[in-house]
Amino acid sequence: MSLLSPTWTAIGYLVAAVCFVLALKGLSSPGSARRGNQIGAAGAVLAVLVTFFSGDLRHVPLIVAAIVVGTALGVPAARRVAMTQMPQLVALFNGVGGAAAALVAALELSGAHGLPGGTSTGSASVAAAAGAFTVLVGAVSFSGSCVTFAKLQELMTTRPVTFPGGPYLFGGSLAAAVALAVAVVVDAHGTSVSPVLLLALAVVALLAGVLFVLPVGGADVPIVISLLNAFTGLTVAASGYVLDNVLLLVAGTLVGASGTILTRLMAAAMGRSLTSTLFGAFRAGTAVAAGPGEDRPVRSGSPEDVAILLGYARKVIIVPGYGLAVAQAQHTIRELADLLEARGIEVLYGIHPVAGRMPGHMNVLLAEANVPYEALKEMDEVNPSFSTTDVALVVGANDVVNPAAKTTPGAPIYGMPILEVEQAQQVVFLKRSMRPGFAGIENDLLYDPRTMLLFGDAKESLTKVVNSVKSL
């Protein structure tokens, strides 16, 4: 019942592949990003339709039902998730994609109808190797993504998790996985691979994925999500090789390549090298993380004190962080900024590239609150302005303004570019508690005599400050 000839199938896949290239191209620039994403979605729908009409497929009603189930699970999750929790949702989507690719490769390897190019043993071995790679890396991507999800959702500690022998266990599990993958290739000289062997490979690879992500500190998790995203892309490419499907090969390779570049760009934006992100905790441990004494005095103020500081300033720079987003205080901060501007005060937003939980996350959140785009200043642009600023208002941020990134070699964030709020005349922190930030390190700036702290939920504190400014 195949309606499409192989030629039309190939043309359909080619059009879909072009759509994916245009999608990535479009997503790289603000003006065309949304259109790009829509082109990508159109390409994906086309690819699925072509697949249905081009092969002799059995179980079509069941497959359609499974697609309906998947849509019913995915769309509401994507629609309803709070923008603050979006990074972990992306991680989860990535993980299930990796799992799907691993299943596809495992089924194809263990299937009874043999591998493509089955007549010549050479290309069958290559296909078996690609299949084993898909199962291995797909499983790593799945379990790794689950751990990143747990870290971001704070189901587990966001600190690096290390234990004695951890690196050896990781290395050992990876070596075992590779050995099993080789065994799969050898076993594939028959027509199909034993399911037990594939299961063993998947289980060991799942373990390796967990051990791979556990030692990564909270602040570095986004980089790992991006890396696992590239991994999943490569598994999809390899599964394209196994299935002799050019579209999967092209789409997976595009994602793998662009994901690798994106991972490096993200790491550069955070001033981290990829190796220190992944293996930093193995070497450094958490020795530096234990900060100096907690009982140093801090200067905490009332909302009225903060209102007076702000209301009689000439220039205020707001530094929003993840805490602002968690408290859903984007709209309140904008109200405060509007009030201050009405008093003739210059208000800017200093946006750290990794404010929030992922590069660009904060821009999304503030755009949601209709903060004018012109007021959002990127780090390099805003840093020279701090020395002429009266008040730097830090809302729910910590690591991105921590001078330890410049002054304390060995701190987990050392070398990360920061917003230089310490240059401002006064610094006001709105914080929930003295708890350290996502990277888990102490911030000396909190104890500086020019720093005032206002404890409490960011939204409640801001609402009080807004009311106090109104009555000035």
Binding site: L27, G31, G74, N94
Partner: protein
């Protein structure tokens, strides 16, 4: 298709992938990652093919599981990326894309309170 042809396509696609994203601002890192994530959801094509060829019950069940997972990746990925990018419209320079031909969300401003700033 023979191995060399596939290898050629692979290598060329690597370069295209490097090239298209080499100059992207930090603002777009998150949506780009999410969009790329949705694109690899096209593994759904592989899931459909494998499931459609299987003749064992276990194979069918695992195949259908992979169809569900791949669909979640693909559909969810594109929807969440679109939601993210929706936030970027109506700011600064020119609004992002005039007509928005999303079938689901309908024409005009989204049902939220936000117009064009």
């Amino acid at each position: 298709m023979d191995g060399i042809a596939l290898l050629t396509i692979f290598v060329l696609a690597v370069f295209v992938g490097f090239e298209v994203v080499s100059k992207v601002s930090t603002t777009l890192h998150t949506p780009l990652m999410s969009g790329a994530n949705a694109i690899h959801g096209v593994i759904l094509v592989g899931s459909i093919i494998v499931t459609g060829q299987t003749d064992s019950t276990v194979g069918l069940l695992l195949g259908l599981l992979s169809v569900v997972l791949a669909t979640v990746n693909m559909v969810g990925g594109f929807v969440v990326t679109d939601r993210m990018l929706q936030m970027f419209r109506g700011r600064g320079q020119r609004p992002v894309a005039g007509p928005r031909p999303t079938p689901g969300s309908g024409p005009g401003p989204a049902p939220g309170e936000e117009g064009t700033r």
